[in-house]
Symmetry: C2
Subunit: 191 residues, 2 copies
């Protein structure tokens, strides 16, 4: 990911909790990378009800698609005190036109995102918490096909796979009692 950004000079912006980065209808300035904190992307319908689109955490990019449209189509607000890097639209597009490596990389990266999102979407259709957790674990096994390293709190995983944290805790405990998984320090192992 860093290589795509290597040729660009981002503008660092610090945001207080609750501060707005951009609003729906604003002219697009470029895409962003979260350095610290969380940015909440949401859309408000005419009737005023809010649709949460995405919550971007550290290391995640968002609004890449803004490179190709004139105005933002959602609101971006900092959940907590945050720091984001802003990559200007014109520079990013120029890089895309000029640098063969960068353009293939961005395209391939977007393609990978599409596949990952499709996988995540498929996982959500599994009703059973047990099967969904197993599906997630299998999908996240490392090269040995057995070990999953947990980076960050379990409740983040719960949010990612669309379960209440308590349900995830219970399910993991159940799977462990069935000897299907073993849990260690920041590690889960399939048996």
């Amino acid at each position: 990911m860093a290589s795509i950004l290597a040729g660009l000079k981002p503008v660092i912006r610090e945001l207080a909790a609750g501060e707005t980065l951009f609003a729906s209808g604003d002219a697009t300035r470029g895409f962003f990378l979260v350095r610290r904190g969380q940015i909440r992307l949401a859309r408000f319908s005419a009737s005023g009800c809010e649709t949460l689109l995405f919550v971007a955490g550290p290391g995640e990019r968002f609004a890449e698609a803004s490179l190709f449209v004139e105005t933002y189509h959602c609101d971006a607000r900092a959940v907590a005190e945050s720091s984001v890097a802003c990559f200007p639209k014109s520079a990013a597009l120029a890089l895309l036109e000029g640098d063969a490596t960068a353009r293939l990389e961005l395209t391939a990266d977007l393609a990978r995102q599409v596949m990952e999102l499709r996988s995540a979407l498929t996982l959500r259709d599994v009703r059973s918490a047990r099967e969904r957790v197993l599906g997630y674990l299998v999908a996240r096994t490392g090269v040995d096909g057995r070990t999953i390293t947990i980076g960050g709190p379990l409740k983040d995983i719960a949010a990612m796979i669309g379960l209440a944290p308590e349900v995830l805790y219970r399910t993991l405990a159940l799977l462990e009692s069935e000897r299907i998984i073993r849990r260690g320090n920041g590690i889960i192992e399939l048996t």
Copy 2:
């Protein structure tokens, strides 16, 4: 859209209703453009339940991401008797390296897909069937911000937003009784 196709010689393939274009695990041949009919992209989880990813209609491309991986990750089946243009992988990749217009177009399309998939994923986090259906409807309103045109059976929409068909029927009936929506011939209108 035609521009991306200008430099390629697609292979035209005719499909009978129900015929499979490719299956999960098949070696990628390239991406496709629907000329006539409808192609249904779906994925089956280990437990056998189906996730509807996309229904591609005339003029729509699909499986672009396959250019960057070795095997397909979903099934493509013709809903009705259809005709698709197949753009071979190698030729498409060569075009991507050479033609700036084609490259930007494909990248923009992938970026749009990422946005749509994120929206779909976010929608799944809405527990309440009522709110989820409303969210879907709001996201699918046309230019007037009020009208949604239904192309295809309601049960396909149910699958797309992760609800049992019966629940969608019930929810729509409820919303209609509350005067929040009006239903007409293949049309839903927000009030």
